[in-house]
Amino acid sequence: MNLPYTVIFEKRTADYPKWLPAVTSLFSVIVAFIISGIVLKIIGGDPLRVLKFFFTATFGSWAVFSDTMVKATPLIMVGLACAVAFKMKLWNIGAEGQFYMGAFFSSLVVLVPMVNLETTPKFIVIALMMIMGMIGGAIWGFIPGYLKAKYQVNEIIITLMLNYIALYWNNFWIFDKWSDAGFQMTPQFEKIAWLPRLSDLAKEYKAFSGITLHLGVVFGIIAAIIIWWILERSHWGYEIKLIGDNPQAARYAGLNITKNLILVMMLSGALAGLAGMSEISGVVHRLQEKISPGYGFTGIIVAWLAKLNPFAVIIVSILFGALIVAGREIQPSGLSNLLQGIILFMVISSDVLLRYKIRLVRLEQEA
């Protein structure tokens, strides 16, 4: 077969334009939607109807958009958790477990209870829950960090194993000690442990009735700003990036890699733990079995699609929040899972465009 044209990959010698990563990311998402549509068509679905449903169910009104934002809230924090660790090339894929431990630890404030819930001011209860949540996540991040620093144990597998352990740990407490009359959940928390929601203001502002958006989203945005500052402006962020790019050079420059490794894993865990706290205090209002539809794993995709940029994490989280909202009602149920996988595949494939120029060349020119 003789084609007049051939495709050649040419290594980029100059830096790529600044807008290119954003364009390739967007392009990947679109292509992923198209591929999923084709899969849907093959198994007998109607892709266009599903797409239309997707938009109305997630961005169609303030109420559904609020639902989308509620789902995006934990994703922002978990996405940041992954982004921080990935910056140092630490593959923390245990955000799911850290999320559950954060939820568990912050629940202790109410379930033990750690303070007198009748008399303590609300903001102290909430602050304590936040701190406990972050501690819980940080502990779950410390374990793989320490094992990697001390014994060079692969953090990927350890963080994954810890996900399962956290799940069973939680299950024990909600089935046993704190079970609500034999159900697989704890009793509902007192109102004082609830994060404020917009619907709380419905009396004053009619428009807010039924809007479930809660304070957690503010935590997420503040966290994004702090993480951006750490990564882009602070000593520590410079160290994280240096270790991530070349640990040998970091050691040569006199950095303490062991300490940084453990600290970054703990920071990452704390962010995921905070997401867990925000979810039970802002949405579920109790500890129960299924508090996460895989936020921890989706966070990995969010971080990667956002190219580890904290502000991009917020935007990407909203898209994935929408996917989760729509995914609850789209059949078959694995479809949003599949879509996430395809998106991630497209994103990493599109990275090739950042390293190579792809050109169509006339064959005669080559000869």
Binding site: H235, Y238, A249
Partner: protein, 509 residues
């Protein structure tokens, strides 16, 4: 019986090879006569290896004709080149460290087809060794062998494949003077047995010693094609290679060294394989003095640099201005004014995906005015980097350029600039000029001498004897982790250093 002279072993005509943004070979011709040793000279980056990789089937020329034994060839993989009897001994050995000598030699062949009866082939390889006098244990694992032995394996690999045209890419760079003599004898005995050899080098004395004719490349263009070696002067050759008359004007001023800065006492250390690499080694370096460390690669030089800079643990003591820094982290050495120009520029000395700015602040990002209490002032950092870029003549579009996009010489300047701005008391420089072109070598050497005049104590580790003789005040020769002797650079003789490099202890030291 009449016989016509055998055709030329190789004819390469009008070869053009292009990489993105680079014309690596521009209409180059090269003819290798049957049974000759043909030297291919040129600076780093002149396109020698590229041309030879094309002959070995690794790259495809954009245009040009290649003939092997008079027959036109068109290689699409190394396998095709091997089938035509071409064997290449690469500069960086292409050996699998975890496999045995025999396994490495049999790699990629069709015979044996499936089951590897290694014992049988060990014997075949011993027979081949006898024929050419290349001794090495066939059952040994590659990582256990010395550099010289590994090179023999590389040569055996090509001979086992029945190669009659050998390409040797800078084979002498890693060898001691005596080993070089041995290699040249091997090369001569191979041509006597009907092999033809292309010998890549940039050292004139080696070329005149062994080669019959030579071809010179400069920036991808041949400046001499197959001229006779006889009667060629060093100046003429340098002119062909560099394009201008080279005047080696690096000169060091006479000065009296001051107090002892670095005092290494009976230091022993292991290498990465857990084998003892330094053995009760002692030496000292004074203010305003360059102590050169000579030795064949792999005799403890890397480990010496690493124990002093805190990157490797050891026994014994290392005193810097009287304070023991042994067995501490690199930060301890840095705090006491130790600068380090590491052997591996890209792997250790820089962060490839970070900018020039970020690479220049690696050691002072916590200090005013670049560092505040918690944060980094990037405006200051950039102006600091711009200052260094101008002062050290670093060629790059701007200070936001990633380190990996810099050429070797410019990257080395970034590293040196960074290390010098720390105002070091002691500078440990390992192979600071390796792989650089002549211009860059000269400027790096000048920077080192300027540091010496500033009063910095410098430990210079190099495999280039000429460089050590030009720059050092004293030269210590290392062999198997021990100091064979310390010589005054002024009266040192190459022959004596060579003997010490192979393990002869200086009697009067």
């Amino acid at each position: 019986m009449t016989s016509s002279p055998p055709p030329n072993a190789v004819e390469m005509k009008d070869i053009v090879i292009r990489f993105p943004g680079v014309l690596a070979n521009d209409h180059v011709n090269l003819t290798l006569k049957h049974g000759e040793i043909h030297a291919l000279l040129g600076e780093n980056g002149a396109g020698k290896s590229t041309l030879m990789n094309a002959l070995a089937g690794l790259y495809k020329p954009v245009s040009g004709v290649m003939k092997v034994h008079g027959e036109e060839v068109n290689f699409s993989s190394p396998k095709d080149a091997i089938a035509k009897g071409i064997g290449m001994v690469h500069q960086h050995f292409m050996l699998v460290p975890t496999q045995t000598v025999t396994e490495n030699i049999l790699l990629g062949l069709d015979e044996p087809k499936f089951f590897m009866d290694l014992a049988k082939y060990d014997q075949k390889i011993r027979d081949l060794q006898d024929q050419f006098g290349l001794r090495v244990d066939p059952t040994a694992l590659i990582w256990q062998l010395s550099v010289g032995e590994q090179q023999r394996v590389e040569i055996l690999k090509t001979l086992y494949r029945g190669a009659d045209i050998l390409i040797m890419d800078e084979p002498t760079a890693v060898l001691a003077p005596q080993e070089i003599d041995e290699l040249m004898n091997t090369m001569r005995s191979m041509t006597e047995q009907g092999k033809s050899i292309i010998f890549i080098s940039h050292k004139l004395n080696e070329v005149t010693a062994v080669a019959d004719r030579l071809t010179v490349l400069r920036k991808g263009v041949a400046t001499a094609e197959g001229i006779d070696v006889e009667g060629l002067t060093g100046e003429k050759l340098a002119e062909l290679m560099v394009g201008r008359k080279v005047i080696f004007s690096v000169e060091k001023k006479a000065q009296e060294p001051g107090a002892v800065v670095l005092d290494v006492r009976e230091v022993s250390a292991e290498n990465n394989k857990g084998v003892r690499a330094l053995n009760k080694l002692s030496l000292d370096v004074r203010e305003g003095e360059i102590l050169g460390i000579a030795g064949v690669a792999g005799n403890g030089q890397s480990e010496l640099a690493e124990v002093i800079t805190g990157m490797r643990g050891c026994e014994g003591s290392i005193l810097i201005n009287g304070e023991d820094v042994s067995n501490q982290e690199p930060s301890a050495a840095i705090a006491r004014g130790v600068a380090h120009v590491p052997e591996d520029r890209t792997g250790v000395g820089s962060a490839p995906n970070m900018t020039i700015t970020e690479n220049t602040i690696m050691k002072n990002y916590r200090e005013k005015p670049i560092g505040n209490k918690w944060s980094i002032n990037f405006t200051e950092a950039r102006s600091h980097a711009r200052g260094l870029k101008d002062a050290y003549d670093i060629l790059a579009p701007n200070v936001r350029t990633m380190a990996r996009k810099l050429s070797g010489g410019n990257l080395q300047k970034v590293i040196l600039a960074r290390e010098i701005t720390t105002n070091p008391k002691l500078m440990v420089a390992m192979q600071p000029t390796r792989g650089l072109d002549v211009g860059a070598i000269e400027s790096i050497q000048r920077l080192l001498l300027a540091q010496r005049e500033e009063g910095t104590a410098i430990l210079l580790i190099s495999e280039e004897l000429d460089e050590l003789l030009t720059l050092s005040d004293r030269i210590a020769v290392l062999h198997e982790g021990e100091v064979m002797g310390i010589l005054d650079a002024e009266n040192a003789e190459v022959k004596e250093i060579g003997l010490m490099m192979t393990g002869m202890k200086r009697s009067d030291s």
